[in-house]
Symmetry: D2
Subunit: 341 residues, 4 copies
């Protein structure tokens, strides 16, 4: 049985785990006050070329989205997101649980288009009844998106300009950020993101860590008393070192980018294999997630030897499935896949 | 200046106010424990032909929606509603504030169609990732809808059957229920609603009361300790009598239906006048709200003498406006309107 | 049967009701945008000698407390209140429902003492773990308190100074404010309250209105988009006029104070009667609520002819009960009471 | 510098970490669906002698408390806890954030006494105004308590009986459960806890894991769709294996108990050393946390070589500090401490 089920099927990257082992018995203060957290913060600030950035470590993606969004919104505001956004669909209502509406707008291949965003915001403010409506108070995008697609630098800049015009922050969910940054079809660098977004997170769980996401506030805009807010939401890890050591390792010697590149290389090979085998791509993804339309009977058979993810029903007899590579995928996995497809 | 701005531009129906005056100095216990509340409950149970109904009085519509929906949903559930539903658009996120998502689905003229509802619910349960999603835990409809339209008895029955099949309650927002029940184009009676819906409310604010809505739980399904829940949400009126006396009066001698009929008669006349004057209806509403597409310059002029409601922009140069009649609209109002249109 | 059960056993003061009747058929815009609301706001600003005050009308006391407190606190803050405070004990957890803790501190006769408050705040900030604790973000007092007692001007000033020192607002719940302001044992005037408190509310429900409370923000400190916040909490009355007309009347020709004085005069008489009849006061209240310790058997008998409120058990065989006067209490009520005590 | 700052100053127990390393590259499904989670659940059920137990893994203690408490309470209920309880004081309002009040009652050495609990519950139900109050819907205890103390089996049984009588669940916070179970002064076994409590959690973070707590529902009473609830609260770990592998290891070959015993042995030694050196114990704790009253000047000096925890101010010139042992404390640590005390 080989698995392309997700990009979180393995534990931590061996180098990350090795550092956890090496530092394991050092006595350290809790709650992110240790030297590894501090060092990791500094390395991330450097990688972002954003010396004023405030960096906080959290455990998982949904948790990060809920805390960042709810703590940056005013109580009468909601967050604008693509209908297909992770916060819209696959977080079990975590954002609404914090009391805020996800204002879902149209998308294309998982991306919000600047024109639609601008029209939405303008319509809202032009509506004479808007005081009875949820105010759009932030824009959420994911990069890569849930469909593996990427914003171009131009698209990102346009979104940032609109947010700036309407005075609301732009937030990027970077659960798979590494895989986006090293894609062969992108002109967006980490420094661009740090410059254009008001807040974003660098995903660890899916890119080499056993758990952990690094939130970066780029504009001296971290919510006051953010640590207490994290505690209040049950998200303050007692052994903050676990996150600090991991991110410190991922941002040493370019590890985060190298392991991402490995996943992208294999994803491109995966795409070739799928196309060669006559599979129809649901979307042409430039990152580590590949989406395929497959006939249901064929899927049933495939699942006997390969773990894949159900994505959605395509039609009565077809299903969209996802195959993901990650830092842990091997050449051998691909070879085996090729034989059973 | 004449006003067709809304159906809540006047105070209370004179008979309702008279009864408030007559009973004003009687010492009564608070919080809905008085004899007028009890009498009103009994009259509503009778009008619904639903002796087991539990009836609670609340102050306003958004409040009622938020309390009914949040107290009937499990914490991991959301409420299915039309994209155009009042809870979706015009309650400033009151439902999300309670921690629950409004699961917006497609609509037609403000109505949810049975087929779309069924498809939505079936797709949800067929999705292998549905444990990561908000569970649909209730269906919300408004009758009349926000566009003045009405469900037929057949449509209502179909929705009820689907809800029954998926074991979730059907909730009807009856903010303007009176105007729906006496429409010339309906086969739905109050008793049908009490039979088909699991919970609904009879709107008072827009139909003769100065404030107040009567929630009716029809299936022995009122949330336990509902009075405490109402208190917790800041919605327990100290002088519950104010609501009791009003509903007791509205449900005496058919007052609720008679004053609704007056509004409908005038609404039909209003529609004729609008059509005669060459206005284009945005929708052909069988109830007390009429929606008209009007050229912006003409609207500007109209507003000098007539108060109307902005509804939405139709296109660059046109706006959809709403003109509403109510129990308080007079023949004289219509005559004056006719002269200035 | 005579009733001293509470100060909300009658409807509205006749003059208030008369004005509702007179204005009943005037077409007015909703949501507090009408001329009566505006006029009432202006009269309250004048009575407070606080021209910059922002005045908002809400329906009830628990609702007002929950909205004011939650919208002024930061998300990691709680509100400091006496253990006996209405928000602590008798609002069914309405404050916690908004996500904020009530930080209960010791009290004396319902009052917070400045020394205890200062010690609490100092201890909090001196605690090395305070980032893991709820931050005190507001001080809540009631005046009169739940036990009918009053702060002196000196006490109020001390509390205000402490709040100022710790940079948190002082909020006064004035559900029975009228009865406090005209007490024979007070040196606190409405203008003192407006000067010393950051926000407070003038109670209507218990002082002449059928419902309604007027929130006054005195320091240009009303939460941004407060109307939308009110809507989101289900508390925006469609017919805002109902509140506007009532407060406009109460603040015309000193009505609010005159009817309060009537209640206080009768409360002093009531106290005399109780003492003459040999009842033990639980507390010597200078306002309209009187608390009596009564033997249980005697209470049982008393209840056959007089409606009173259970307050708390005093010991195995005695109960503390409350008898309240209000604007609606009559000399005749007292005479009757005297005969049956 | 030696550290007795807390019981979470080191990473994971070496055996736990070794297993994480061994299993690191196995492809496994996420969200707790892997074989290690299943195996760990089974081992915990066995250790509890509770075959029907439902076991869920969460990341941290505050998170666990908030999710268990909020998902088991009805919306109008609060949780009864000692004033000194972790949920009362040191979780930054995490419980209130879920909308529920912590109903704080008197305690002795961190423990709730059965008599006080019974009196509280009886008083609540006897209060004629209790429908306006937060209903006590659960009892929260910690074992060991925040002061290191333990309930006896008799005390635990009494609490359980009261909970049973009032039909509310008894919940035990076992953040340091291991250290309690192997104390030299306890007659409470894990099987007693599983029998007497309706739900409890077995702490991992402080007892050998790098993170993780195991919630055990013992009476077929796990909230419906609990996994979705966990996701909604942002607490569903993508790589659930990290928790599964850890607990699977901790509950293999008695590891959890053995490492706890090590900590207790050293804690008893620590207590001796402290007493020999003339320190005054604040409380005589039978578990791994020791509380000492220390003169402030002496504390200042001590902190130069030993990391300890501030607990609370004792008086003007003294402070209560906490010294904790854990599985990671060494004999060497104690020796060094002895030399510097």
């Amino acid at each position: 049985m080989i698995s392309f089920e997700s990009d979180y099927i393995a534990g931590a990257h061996p180098k990350v785990l090795a550092r956890l082992l090496e530092t394991n018995m050092e006595p350290l203060s809790g709650y992110g006050m240790d030297k590894y957290c501090e060092s990791a913060r500094e390395k991330i600030r450097k990688a972002c070329e954003c010396p004023q950035a405030e960096v906080h470590f959290l455990v998982g993606g949904t948790q990060t989205n809920a805390i960042v969004i709810s703590s940056m919104l005013k109580e009468y505001e909601g967050v604008v997101a693509a209908k297909t956004g992770h916060v819209s669909l696959h977080e079990a209502g975590a954002i609404e649980y914090t009391g805020h509406k996800v204002l879902e707008i149209e998308q294309e291949n998982g991306k919000i288009c600047a024109k639609a965003l601008k029209a939405y915001l303008a319509t809202f403010h032009g509506d004479e009844n808007h005081e009875h409506m949820v105010f759009p108070g932030m824009v959420y995008i994911s990069h890569p998106t849930e469909y593996g697609t990427l914003y171009s630098k131009k698209e990102l800049r346009e979104l940032a300009e609109i947010c700036h015009e309407f005075e609301i922050p732009l937030y990027m969910d970077g659960a798979r950020l590494g895989y986006g940054l090293v894609s062969r079809n992108t002109d967006v660098k980490l420094t661009d993101i740090a410059r254009l977004c008001d807040v974003f997170y660098i995903g660890g769980t899916k890119v080499g860590a056993m758990c952990g996401e690094a939130v970066v506030f780029t504009k001296n805009n971290a919510p006051k008393q953010f640590m207490t807010i994290i505690k209040q939401k049950g998200a303050l890890l007692a052994k903050g070192r676990v996150l600090g050591v991991q991110f410190n390792t991922l941002f040493t010697d370019n590890l985060y980018f190298e392991i991402s590149r490995h996943a992208i290389d294999l994803a491109e090979r995966l795409k070739e294999i799928l196309l060669n085998k006559g599979y129809a791509l649901y979307i042409n993804s430039p990152t580590n997630q590949q989406f395929v339309i497959i006939e249901d009977a064929r899927l049933k058979k495939l699942k006997e030897t390969v773990a894949v993810s159900f994505w959605e029903k395509y039609d009565e007899t077809h299903t969209v499935i996802r195959l993901a590579t990650s830092w842990s995928t091997t050449e051998e996995d691909l070879k085996q896949l090729e034989t059973v497809l």
